[in-house]
Amino acid sequence: MKRLALFVALTTVTTGLFAAPLVVYSERSEQLIKPLLETYTAKTGVEIQVLTDDAAPLIARLKAEGNRTPADVLITVDAGNLWHAAESGMLAKVDSPILETRVPDYLQDPNNQWFALTVRARTIVYSTDRVTPAQLSTYEDLASPAWKGKLCLRTSKKVYNQSLVGSLINRLGDEGTRAVVDGWVNNLATEPQSSDTKALEAVIAGQCDVAIVNTYYFGRMQKANPDVPLAIFWPNQATSGVHINVSGAGITKHSKQPEAAQAFLEWMVSDEAQEIYANLDMEYPVVKDVAVDPVVAKWGTFKPDTRPVYKSGEYQRQAVMLMDAAQYR
């Protein structure tokens, strides 16, 4: 009897939520999403609960929970992670003309299981003291001997670099990419950094002259200190375009309220939400003509690589193996 009481107590604690809030599993850090969710709640009255963690544990949790999962929406910060979630059958197909038309084709899953919500450009940032933009051209060119001892890279363990190398494999094939990565490793001024921020700090300190980073890391720095001696260069403008990645979302396969989840995702690509969402962390909106942060606007426009982003998921494993073999740590 006592045991029964315990179980009853246990279950009521967790299932006694009658209003059924929308549950979001998010890889995106809480502070970069909370304001957006609060706006939605204020507008529609729909409560939202968030659980943040890395993508891999979140996907493992979704799998383990199966049809008992409380989650309705999965948000991740990389197309590779979304691709993997879809691949392992954790996401539902969404039939939404709004998402379909507002999100460009190359930023969504061909099977409509996920959609990008923001775009993040992975580009070259250089020291304005020691480099002129004329010296720069492409990601591939950073492998040339001219940059020996002048390059800083974040660790290959970060998915952003895995996606970047994945896009190179997509374009240049295995051998061509290996030559580029070998060149990069050869040109490194120091062991790869643990974060984009650390790589930028090393450029400022003078340990290296160029780094490949996501723009918003540079944006945060420039916002804090407008005189920071760094500038953005948009590479591959004559060829493939700037490598981009996304943060995006899908609806979980076992969501109990897929309509509510869909309404939420559709709101996420509205002009209003896009402006809040992209500017929370100085990213780019997926919807055209939405205003960006003034700091971001100053960097100008660029031609993005419009190969479908889901490809980075497909190439991820190959990319990691290639970087391992090239001793890019």
Binding site: A60, R61, T190, T197, A202, A205, M321
Partner: protein
């Protein structure tokens, strides 16, 4: 039910409860991703093992040197501030290793103030890389030494003077006395501490990745996060478990033949004067400054630079951290105590072998333990929901989270009790029994007084550790149960150290409270 059966049931139950989820990982050997294994073996596994060994040796030496050295100085001598230092030297335990890591990296790295200043003075000095084995060993030694300090200090406090006096009169050198007489007496405590240090070192992922130092654990994360092969990650984890098991077995084996007299002549501490006093004081104060003052001052400085943060927003996480810590510490210590109580007489060699099984959780990376628990719980939930007329949930409940802490930190509590129980003389208890003392009276009069320091140590260590815990809390917490560690992670995840400073500072302050409450005290002058 016979007494023996009861103890067996309790022991086996505990072992299943705690080791179950971890042994569940073994099921993943069912399928093997051959190309991935080939890739790992061809490109990295051996250098990662080498790195892990370097780290274990380095951190083992660093923590032993600091831990035993500081315990000895504060036990043996009285000097400026020795009373305060005796307690304060365990406080660095409240600092999560990765927080210490990002602070020291910030200070020592090429873009840090130290090197920037040096380059301004001497422009030709170049760039010294702090992101290497030495950097990791430095950081981890300064956060992990308190385990050894705490546990060896307990042992020092019970050191028998008479033998040493005899040896001294016989003309033994100081060094010889230390290594042949004193060291064997503190060995159970030292080894219990070292085992904890090593398990935590093996499990670490946050610190080593900050320093770009790849270890065996890095491979576990790589296979899971980058190759999406949870199976291979589980397989690698089970290898790590095997190493931990051997480590615990080694520790247990050497511990078992040490028995001590309970009536010892205690040593009177020596009051230092002059030059000696100066140097010993300097050494201990410098240690405290490096381990605690530097990181805390840096965090205070950063806190002022982060205008968007408020203390108010941290109050709910603070309450959650405290609640979870107190509940977990009480429960885990109680269970570990019961286990030690059943075990200390070592009458049942079969059950004795189960003990190391219950300690494995501490040697695995937190995220792996968390996911193992998650998988275990979801099986359990489904099973229970099937046989019961209602749905049962463990994942995302407080109870589930406490279960996770139990699995992860049971070893910590039980290691803290090792020394106390190792010192208990079976004969005293037996004598009392012969004299007709009831079990309760024997417990109250003999066992509890002797083991109380160990129990308190267990309580405080678990408390502090739960406050620092991240991966299991992240994955298994109920909605809204954000803790301070989570608030730190939220910013460090984005490499925003300055914003992370305020929650980190509060976390450290909170973690030092239980530590200070139960700090080791200076012995009264005999």
């Amino acid at each position: 039910m016979s007494k023996k059966l009861t103890t067996r049931l309790i022991q086996t139950g505990l072992a299943i409860l705690i080791a179950g989820p971890l042994l569940y990982l073994l099921m993943y050997w069912w399928t093997i991703d051959v190309p991935l294994w080939e890739h790992l073996i061809a490109t990295q596994i051996f250098s990662l093992i080498r790195n892990s060994i370097i780290l274990l040796l380095g951190v083992g030496f660093g923590t032993s040197f600091l831990g035993v050295g500081l315990a000895w100085l504060t036990y043996r001598y009285r000097f400026t501030g020795s009373r305060f230092l005796t307690g304060a030297l365990i406080l660095p335990l409240a600092i999560p290793a990765y927080v210490q890591g990002f602070i020291y990296l910030g200070i020592l790295d090429v873009s840090g103030p130290l090197q920037t200043f040096m380059r301004q003075l001497y422009p030709d000095i170049g760039f010294l890389n702090a992101r290497n084995a030495f950097g990791v060993i430095w950081v981890m030694s300064w956060v992990l030494y308190p385990y050894i300090y705490l546990l060896t200090r307990q042992a020092f406090a019970k050191l028998d003077r008479s033998q040493i006096e005899v040896a001294r009169m016989a003309g033994y050198s100081r060094r010889r006395i230390f290594f042949t007489l004193i060291f064997p007496m503190i060995r159970p405590g030292w080894m219990a501490g070292l085992t904890l240090v090593w398990m935590e070192t093996l499990a670490d992922f946050g610190t080593v990745s900050l320093f770009g130092f790849s270890t065996f654990t890095t491979a576990i994360y790589k296979t899971w996060f980058d190759f999406y092969s949870l199976a291979t990650a589980a397989q690698l984890s089970s290898i790590l478990m095997l190493i931990a098991f051997l480590l615990l077995w080694w520790e247990k084996r050497s511990e078992s033949h040490i028995r001590h007299d309970s009536h010892v002549t205690l040593w009177a501490p020596q009051i230092l004067r002059g030059k000696q006093r100066f140097w010993v004081s300097l050494a201990c104060w410098a240690a405290l400054a490096t381990a605690l003052a530097v990181p805390v001052l840096q965090l205070i400085y950063w806190s002022f630079q982060a205008p968007t943060q408020t203390w108010q927003s941290l109050m709910a996480p603070l309450r959650n951290s405290l609640l979870l810590a107190v509940m977990a510490a009480a429960g885990i210590t109680l269970l570990a105590y019961i286990q030690s109580l059943i075990n200390y007489r070592r009458m049942d060699p079969v059950l004795d072998r189960l003990v190391p099984l219950t300690k494995l959780g501490y040697a695995l990376p937190g995220t792996v333990v968390a996911v193992a628990i998650l998988l275990w719980f979801s099986q359990l939930e489904q099973f229970l929901s099937h046989i019961l007329p209602f749905e049962v949930y463990l994942t995302g409940t407080v109870l589930g989270l406490l279960g996770a802490y139990l699995i992860r930190f049971f070893s910590l509590a039980s290691q803290s009790l090792v020394d106390s129980f190792a010192r208990m003389e079976v004969s005293v208890n037996d004598a009392a029994r012969t004299l007709g003392a009831s079990p309760w009276l024997r417990f109250k009069q003999i066992i509890w007084p002797l083991t109380r320091p160990g129990a308190l140590a267990a309580l405080l260590l678990v408390c502090t550790e739960v406050i620092k815990e991240l991966p299991a809390t992240l994955l298994l917490r109920p909605f809204g149960w954000d803790t301070l560690a989570l608030k730190v992670y939220q910013w460090t995840n984005e490499a925003m150290w300055v914003e992370a400073a305020m929650p980190a500072l509060l976390l450290i302050i909170t973690g030092t409270l239980p530590l200070w409450l139960f700090r080791p005290r200076e012995e009264k002058n005999a």
